[in-house]
């Protein structure tokens, strides 16, 4: 009985759906606010994203008649399920994730791809030309960043010698953060570059390039379904940031300052926020690349960084 209850609590409240979406939306708000200030304007208030999603939730639910409605309607829900599951597998409060089943990095990598696949399905099934072009572009983009993403993870795995995220965090607790290891710096850079592509941020916001293909795969979505996509997107941001934090920044660490017990989740929030802010800076200083240029960039420069890191880990003692 207790186990079932705690499972529901974990998946629905903390660190699952509620926590993840609240923090994800908050980060999106911070991202927009900071972007505004970087562009020398005021920007929306931090809670703007809650208002936007709330407004979308209250709108009429429309399915375009040209869409294959089952796929079109289910895609956002599957994506939401996938990102929430990743949240359960990430170390949020301590090195131990909420879901202590045997799930290693490979599972996380797969789960992180599900939103992308759902996005493509949603785009293709929407029946609009922009959705198809957006989905086609996202396929290409997936094949560019995913390779680098996995290579960078392999570099970490090679360094730590374990496929288990808990072990990676535990290792860092004893031997220091992996970011301090110079051999892994190229892997970290490659990881952030591929996260930028995964999260569709400038310069890799190609699949949803506003001026070219309206909103890419999401063009035909509106109302509550779009709201779910927004939540998915924001949780994905949080999840990817949390994943990078766990791999390179030592994951959540609980501190005791002056007798106060600061839970690991505070540490988690700070670290993920830093990573989100780095991606915010990156997205404000560049123009969008073309899809062929992005592909080339990932398979040359970013892949080179990741491979370099892997080589260094394997060769240099």
């Amino acid at each position: 009985m207790m186990e079932v209850l705690s499972f529901f609590f974990n998946s629905l409240v903390f660190p699952g759906l509620l926590f993840a979406s609240l923090i994800g939306l908050l980060y999106a708000g911070i991202d927009r606010k900071v972007t505004g200030h970087m562009q020398h304007r005021i920007g929306p208030p931090i809670w703007q994203e809650y208002l936007d999603v709330g407004k979308l939730m209250g709108k009429e639910d429309i399915t375009p008649s040209a869409a294959q409605s089952l796929v079109f309607n289910v895609a956002p829900l599957i994506a939401l399920g996938a990102v929430t599951t990743v949240m359960l597998l990430l170390p949020v409060n301590s090195a131990q994730p909420a879901l202590t089943a045997v799930a290693d990095l490979i599972v996380i990598i797969y789960l992180l791809n599900i939103p992308a696949i759902c996005l493509m399905l949603g785009g293709y099934s929407s029946g609009g030309p922009f959705g198809s072009v957006g989905a086609a572009r996202y396929v290409v983009q997936l094949f560019s960043y995913e390779f680098v993403f996995i290579l960078a993870i392999i570099a970490v795995i090679a360094r730590v010698g374990s496929l288990d995220l808990t072990a990676v965090v535990g290792y860092q607790a004893q031997r220091g953060w992996l970011i301090l290891d110079l051999r892994l710096i190229p892997a970290l850079i490659a990881m952030i570059i591929s996260a930028q592509g995964k999260l569709m941020r400038v310069p890799f916001d190609i699949p949803e390039a506003e001026t070219e293909i309206v909103h890419g795969a999401l063009t035909e979505y509106s109302g509550p379904k779009l709201a779910i996509w927004r939540i998915v997107y924001n949780i994905e941001t949080l999840v990817v940031a949390g994943f990078i934090a766990a791999l390179f920044l030592g994951g959540p660490v609980a501190y005791t300052i002056g007798g106060f017990q600061i839970p690991g989740v505070a540490d988690f929030l700070i670290k993920t926020l830093i990573i989100v802010l780095i991606t915010t800076i990156l997205r404000n200083i560049m123009a969008r690349l073309r899809i062929d240029q992005a592909l080339k960039f990932y398979w040359t420069f970013a892949a080179f960084l990741a491979v370099l890191s892997l080589m260094l880990v394997l060769v240099v003692p």
Binding site: H40, E212, N284, I291
Partner: protein, 383 residues
Amino acid sequence: MTFVVPVGPQHPMLKEPEFFRFEVKGEEIVGVDIRLGYAHRGIEEALSRRSYKHNVYLCERICGICNVVHSTTYCQTVEQLAGVEPPERAKYIRAILMELERIHSHLLWLGVAAHQIGFNTLFMLAWRDREYVMDLRELISGGRVHSAMNTIGGVRRDVRSEHVPTMLRGLDKLEQSARYYTDLWGSDRTILARCTNVGVLSKDDAIKFCAVGPLARASDVKVDIRKDDPYGAYGALSFNVITEQEGDVWAKGMVRLREILESIKIVRQALKELPSGPVRTPVELKIPPNETVERTEAPRGELIYYIRSNGTDTPERVRVRTPTYGNFASMKSMFAGGTVAEIPIVMWSIDPCFGCNDRITLVDSHTGKARVVSFDELRRWKK
């Protein structure tokens, strides 16, 4: 598999309604079909129903961005018809206003171009600095956008001497930021990646398709009405005609950015050499039957006005050839072989102003067929 990507009449890339039908194979454009005429407002007809004096304000509203150059050209044409010469000081003030307008138009172009390639920070910053030139325009004309300065036979307001220091200070700020953007446009890696070798218009094509303005100058065709056929005060002002060799989007941007610096120079010189005297000569507006053509260099290129008078105080016919109209022909050659990702920036690189381009016109489908769409057909097709 080719499919059709419709761009317009409503599309986030377009700021005004116009329709482009792209046939796309994967990412590559294999055909383009341009249909114009959505923003038809019947201005030419309206112009021939109002008196010469009232028309100044209607001409000003053909285009919001280049309103001064429209009203100036109109006034120049009517002045030529009526055989009057505006005072020197008025000519200088017109030149100042037109150059301020060029600066503001080009900064606006830069902002939107940056937005088209996803560089939103540059977009915001360029429009921030555009605010300075709007303030200057407000200072001398009393309106941020529509200056309402021109009248037949001169200008309605004088540039007051106490405004000159403020103007010079504003110009300094503008120069600083224009230099920054020129530098940025020439050095930022992502901008270069997106804009070089994209939408190339070769010199031969530019001449063949009669490209005008910055579009032609970016393809190394040295046309600038201000130099080729000086009007107003431009004969007395010294400036360079900016050209670039490459003919791609980057070159088109560079021409515009360097023209901002050139325009700042012109305004400074005009403010310094501003002749004294009246700003307006009275005109009798009953013009005997005659006809004339006048051309000027608008921010987007050559602007032509043709007016026929018939002895009354209303013109019989006014024909406006706006620069965007002259540039549409070059567009197809610029799109050829490009990708979907290039559509926005290539389209924007001609700095299209559909509002002033309001004609029912040719449909040039990818089969090479050309025909004219009737208004009825267009209306039916819209549904």
